[in-house]
Assembly symmetry: C2
Homo-oligomer: 414 residues x 2
Amino acid sequence: MTDINKANEQAVSRMMEARPILKGVAPARDVIPGMKPNLLLHAGPPIEWARMSGPLRGAVIGALIFEGLAKTEQEAVALVEKGEIEFAPCHHHDTVGPMAGVTSSSMMVYILENETHGNKAYSNLNEGYGKVLRYGAFSEEVIAKLRWMNESMGPLLAKAIEASGGIDIRTLLSESLHMGDEGHNRNKAGSIIYTAKLAPWIAKVAADNDVESEVLKALGENALSVLNPVMAACKAMSASAHGVEGSTMVTTMARNGTDFGMRVSGLGDQWFTAAAEVPDGLYFPSFTSKDANPDIGDSTITETAGIGAFAMAAAPAIVTFVSGTPQDALNATLEMYEITIAEHSHFTIPQLEFRGTPTGIDIRKVVELGITPRVNTGIAHREAGVGQVGAGLVRPPMKIFEDALIAYAQHYNL
Amino acid sequence: MTDINKANEQAVSRMMEARPILKGVAPARDVIPGMKPNLLLHAGPPIEWARMSGPLRGAVIGALIFEGLAKTEQEAVALVEKGEIEFAPCHHHDTVGPMAGVTSSSMMVYILENETHGNKAYSNLNEGYGKVLRYGAFSEEVIAKLRWMNESMGPLLAKAIEASGGIDIRTLLSESLHMGDEGHNRNKAGSIIYTAKLAPWIAKVAADNDVESEVLKALGENALSVLNPVMAACKAMSASAHGVEGSTMVTTMARNGTDFGMRVSGLGDQWFTAAAEVPDGLYFPSFTSKDANPDIGDSTITETAGIGAFAMAAAPAIVTFVSGTPQDALNATLEMYEITIAEHSHFTIPQLEFRGTPTGIDIRKVVELGITPRVNTGIAHREAGVGQVGAGLVRPPMKIFEDALIAYAQHYNL
C-alpha cells in the first residue's frame, strides 16, 4: 500500500510539474508521429467503422472530403468500407481532439511541448460553434471553414506563435481558473487571454490587414478557441505521468461516442472500456435527450489533469449552460477531492480559499467509495451531419474502474 | 416616505436602464464641454492648490509639463501660484479620472454615450502600472508614456472604435462580473475582453504593424486598460439618475486626496464633503501605511453605479491584492444590500445565484443603519512624484451622509 501511494505521489507530481508550452502550428503529417495520408485519428479508445456512432462517422466523412480523398458522403463511405482508410485513437499518436476528434494528415495542429519532461502533444484547431466537423457535421460550409482555418488562420497562428517564443498554457490556465473558467466546457476567459496574448504577435507578422482582422475575430469571439491547446497541454501533462510502475492513477479518459475508455499509469497501454453514457444537461431549442449521442471526445483529458468538472467550483457561471446551481458546481469539486491523490500546486480555486484543484484520479478510491469522476461535456446529435444539441454532465461507467483494479491485482500479483 | 421611495425607484431605474456605449477617442479640448488650455480637471470635489495633497500636486505638475506650459517642476508650481491655471472637478465637466484624475486639454479621452438618455461622459486613457501621472509621478518616463499614448495609441484607438461602431460597456461589465472582476480594482477580465473586442478593428485600420503590435500589447497586458471606459460608463449611468426631484440616492462619490465628496440625486449640484480617510490594505515592498495618501480618485463612480466593492462577491481572487479572504469579499456585497435601493438588472453575481448587485446608495439607509459604502481602491504615496504604494479598502466618512440628510430635510421642508 505504501508503495502504491509512493508511486501515485510520483505520478501526480510529474503531472503537476509538467510545464506545457504552445510552441507552434504545423500540418499533422509534418509533426504527429506515424501520421500518414490514409490514416484518420479519432477521439476515445480504438473502434472500427461498424461500431462508430453517427457523429464520429459524420466527422470521418467530412475529413475524407476535406482531404480530397472523396467527393461525396457516398464516396467516403465506400472508401472506408473497401478498407482503404486506417483508424487509430488520437491518444495512440500523442494527440487529443474534442468531440469526434477526427484529425487527418493535412490538418493544421497545435504543437505543445512539456518543457519539464520533453514530451510533446498535439491537437487540431478549434472550429467555433454551429455546424462543425467535431460534432459530426460535414456540409459544404463545414469544409469551407476547415479550409479557411488551414489556409488563412493556421499559417498566421504558426508565424505568430513562433514569433512569441511560445505561450505557457499552464500559466494561462492558472489565470483563467481565477476568471470563472473550469478549462473544459467554460474557456471564455482562457480564450480571450489567449487572443490578447497572441494579438501583438499576430500584428507583428501579419501581411494582410483583412486576414489578420478575421483571424483575431475568430479567436476572440470563439469562447472555445483555447480549448484545443488546453487539451493538448493536459495531454502533455498526463502523458508525462504515464508508465509509473505500481501507480493506480488514471492517465487517460476518452470517449469515441460508443465506448468510454481509460488507461492507468501503472498498467501500460491497455484500455479499459465500457459503453459510454448519454450526458444529462441542457438542450438547444427543438432538441431533447432522445437526440443525444452517448458521450464523445478526448476533452476528458482536462478532468484527467485536474481541471474541467474537477475545477467547477471556480466556474459558477457554467451552470447556465450545463444545468444545476452554483452550489452544485461547488459540490462537484468537493466530491472529486474524495477520489484524487493531490491538490494541484498550480491550479487553485479562489472560491475555496485558493485550495488546489483535486488532481490525479486513484482507481482504488473510485471503486472503494463508489464515486466515479465527474465530466463536463458538449452533447452531439446521434446522427451524422447534424451537430451539437446541448451541453451537460456525465460520468464514466464504474465497470472500467473495477476492471482496471482487477487487472492491476493480476498484473502486480496482489 | 412613499414619495421618496418612488423618486428613488425612478432614479435607480434610470441608472440601470442607461446603456453607455464607447463611441470614440478625441482630444479633451475637442469634446469635453468647457475645456480650455489653462484648465486642469482633477478628481473629487473642488479644491484649491493650497489644500491639494502630494499626488494631486504631482499630477498637476506633470500635466503642465505635458502641455508644454512649464518645463520643470519649479516652473509649473510658479505658474499655478501666479494664478494662471484654473482647476475644476472632472465631475463638473461630465468627466471622471482615476486617482489624481488630472485631465488637460490636449489629452486624448474616451467618449461614452448613454444611448438610452443621450448624455455623454469622458475619461482619459489608462497609463498602466508603475510610474504614472495618476499616482502623482511626473518624471520624464511618465511624460514620454503620455506622449506615446496621445500620439500613437489614442489615434489608433479612435480609428478602431469608430470602425467598430461602438462598444457596449454595460454588456462588457455584465460579462466581466461573471469572470471574476468587480469592475473597479479588478478589471483583468474586462481589460482582455476589451482588447479582444477591439483587436479585429485595430487590425483593420492599422497602418503600421509595429505601432499596432505595441498598442495591442499595451491594452492586453494592462489589467486596468478598460478601467477608464468603465468609469466613464458608470458616470454616464449615474449622471442620468441625477436631478430626480425628491430622491435620496447618491449619484456621485469622489475624492481629491484631501476631501471625500458626495452628491445626491435630489439635492442638485451641492457637494457634501469631509476629510478623506487613509485606506486599509496591502502595501508594495518597502512601503507602509505611513507612506499612504488619503483616499483619492473618481473611481468610486463604480461603487456609485453598483459595481466595484459592491460587486466584490463576484471577484474572490481580488483579496490577493486588497487583503482579506474570499468570505470577506462575499460579506462586502451582502452588507451593501442593506444600504441600497435595488438589485441591478444587468449586473449579476454567479456566486450569489445570479442575484443582481446592490445598486443605488440611499443616504437614509446609510445614516439609519450606520453602514457607510465600501470602496476598493489603489493607494498613492502622499508625496508628489512617487506613485502607487498599494491597494486596499476604504469607506467614506459618515459625516457627509449626515450632512446630506440634514440638507435634504431643509430643502424639502421635512
